[in-house]
């Protein structure tokens, strides 16, 4: 049960129930589709990027609590950041959820994203947590191919 609590922390449950930056983005100039065929998580990430700055970002779609909360927190984390900063955050997040469960984490650097440390105990759920991030990264790089975490 403690591992489950670690996975489904209040921040994650809150962002699942009340996702931030959820919906369409009319002035978007980058859009990307992300899909996890294993469990059916499916989302779109829309960005408005000007002069390498993510001026606005929204996502829409459906998925499990982990993927939805991750998408919500991701949008909050990269909004207002440069594309280079967003890609650096992607690297940090990816490293966090794919590290060994007992590896030390740096909460100062990770900020709110540290709540996803519990995912490390559930390797089958890493794809759920990273879907939105992969999708954002592809959108920033303006890759047209839909992203799959399979």
């Amino acid at each position: 049960m403690s591992e489950l609590r670690e996975l489904y922390q209040q921040v994650i449950l809150d962002h699942n129930k009340n996702p931030r930056n959820f919906g369409a983005l009319t002035q978007a100039n980058r859009s990307q589709e992300g899909y996890n065929p294993l469990c059916g998580d499916h989302l779109h990430v829309h960005l408005c990027v000007k002069d390498d700055l993510i001026q606005d970002i929204k996502f829409e779609g459906s998925g499990c609590a982990i993927s939805k909360a991750s998408a919500s927190l991701m949008t909050a984390a990269v909004k207002g950041k440069s594309t280079a900063e967003a890609e650096a955050l992607f690297e940090q997040f990816h490293q966090l959820v794919t590290s060994a469960p007992d590896d030390p984490i740096d909460p100062d650097k990770l900020g709110k994203m540290a709540v996803f440390a519990g995912v490390r105990e559930f390797p089958m759920r890493v794809k759920c947590a990273t879907l939105a991030w992969h999708t954002m990264k592809a959108a920033v790089e303006d890759d047209e191919t839909p992203i799959s975490t399979e």
Partner: protein
């Protein structure tokens, strides 16, 4: 927990000639502990666990008989050949096929269907022809036909289902036409549990001269199968879903059909004579079995069939139906739970969703309690689309499951809300 206890009283069990507790001792994996909890294995639609007799058969083969078949004159090769062909005979008997030559060993149901698509289908199908499937097929009984139709300029037609997941027979009747060249239909839906009215489906198709392929992956492990009584033209199932090893399965085909079909893969075993100018092919079933087959798999499958026969297929069907009723009633007590697939006749499949909680999260929470279920689209995305859900949780039963397993499932489901709020 109280809901499950009430259900026990409300539902009167039938007398069953099956001792699940005794059976469980034959399956070593069921004694394993998962995350510190007793394993409750409810993912039998994906694959089943193996009894000791199957494990011993595999070990005995590799330890004392291992050799290539149909080749050597030496003793071991004779032993291996004898064992493999004896297994084929056992399968023929299990399906009540009239002739052992009608049993082709394949890797599994998927390969069985692809074999028919690539041989029979390629030979018979012309532009504008149609193949008829149902809405509740597994992807493996959709995609091979789609690929074939694309190649041939033919069309895939789909018999709809209703909101209980019942096969709509009247719609089937309307869709069958002189353009239909094959009906390919499941015996039991892996995502919904629906048992299709096979006998009626086949009779109607045959009245128009249309052959029928049956996907028996979820049927053969759970109900008696008699291919002669059904009069199906092809029947295919997987070894690993019937308590046997992975990587082996069966394609039954009527002998005249198999003989008229071109070979599939080329190679050793499937030939009579080879020169650089011309090759003549072996008789059925060798014509469809190029290369060294999964010999141990066939022998393991034989042991699995022996095990199933020792329990009794009719006993298994009756026991699982009883357990399905018990489980359905118990799940319906859970607030916010909706069963997907409520056909009148079902195999032991309980597909469901719970309000505001994604199936994948439910799967993780159940896993923490040692309960193994599947969460996802079950390789049946059209079914998910029909019911307007991205995925479901699926608990699928086998004869080693008990009411205690269901009670554990219900108790674990009652924790979902606690974890998710």
């Amino acid at each position: 927990m109280s809901s499950a206890a009430q259900t026990t009283q409300a539902y009167a069990p039938t007398q069953l000639d099956l001792d699940a507790d005794k059976i469980r001792r034959d399956f070593p994996i069921l004694q394993e502990r998962i995350r510190g909890k007793e394993l409750v294995y409810l993912d039998n639609g994906a694959t089943t666990q193996k009894p000791l007799s199957v494990l011993y058969a595999l070990q005995r083969y590799y330890a004392t008989e291992n050799s290539n078949i149909h080749r050597g004159v030496h003793f071991l090769s004779q032993q291996a050949t004898f064992a493999y062909e004896r297994a084929r005979g056992r399968v023929a008997h299990f399906l009540n096929a009239g002739d052992t030559h009608e049993i082709v060993f394949v890797r599994g149901t998927t390969e069985g269907i692809n074999l028919v698509a690539q041989t029979f289908g390629r030979q018979e199908l012309k532009e504008g022809d149609e193949i008829l499937i149902s809405y509740m097929e597994h992807h493996s009984n959709i995609v091979p036909w789609q690929m074939l139709c694309e190649e041939k300029g033919a069309h895939l037609r789909v018999v709809p289902i209703d909101d209980n997941g019942e096969f709509l027979f009247d719609e089937y009747d309307k869709l069958l036409s002189e353009r239909t060249k094959l009906v390919a239909v499941t015996q039991a839906s892996n995502a919904l549990g629906t048992i299709t009215p096979l006998k009626e489906i086949i009779t109607l198709a045959h009245a128009q001269g249309v052959p029928v392929l049956v996907d028996g992956a979820q049927g053969a492990p759970h109900m008696p199968v008699d291919v002669q009584e059904l009069d199906c033209d092809f029947y295919t199932f997987s070894g690993h879903k019937i308590f046997g090893p992975t990587g082996v399965g069966v394609l039954y085909g009527k002998r005249d059909l198999l003989e008229a079909m071109p070979p599939w893969e080329g190679g050793g075993s499937m030939i009579k004579t080879v020169t650089f100018e011309r090759t003549t092919y072996a008789e059925v079933p060798a014509k469809f079995e190029a290369g060294t087959p999964n010999i141990a798999g066939g022998i393991g499958l034989e042991a699995a069939i022996d095990y199933v026969n020792s329990v009794g297929v009719a006993n298994i069907a009756a026991y699982e139906t009883d357990l399905l009723h018990y489980a359905s009633q118990a799940l319906e007590q859970i607030e916010g739970l909706r069963l997907i697939g409520t056909a009148q006749h079902k195999v032991g499949v309980l597909s469901f969703v719970i309000d505001e909680v994604h199936p994948h999260d439910i799967g993780t929470i159940l896993d923490a309690e040692g309960v193994a279920v599947r969460a996802g689209h079950h390789c049946a995305q059209p079914v998910m689309q029909h019911f307007g859900v991205p995925a479901t949780v699926r608990a699928s039963l086998a004869f080693y499951n008990t009411r205690k397993d269901i009670d554990t499932l219900v108790a674990a489901l009652n924790k979902v809300k606690e974890v998710m709020t």
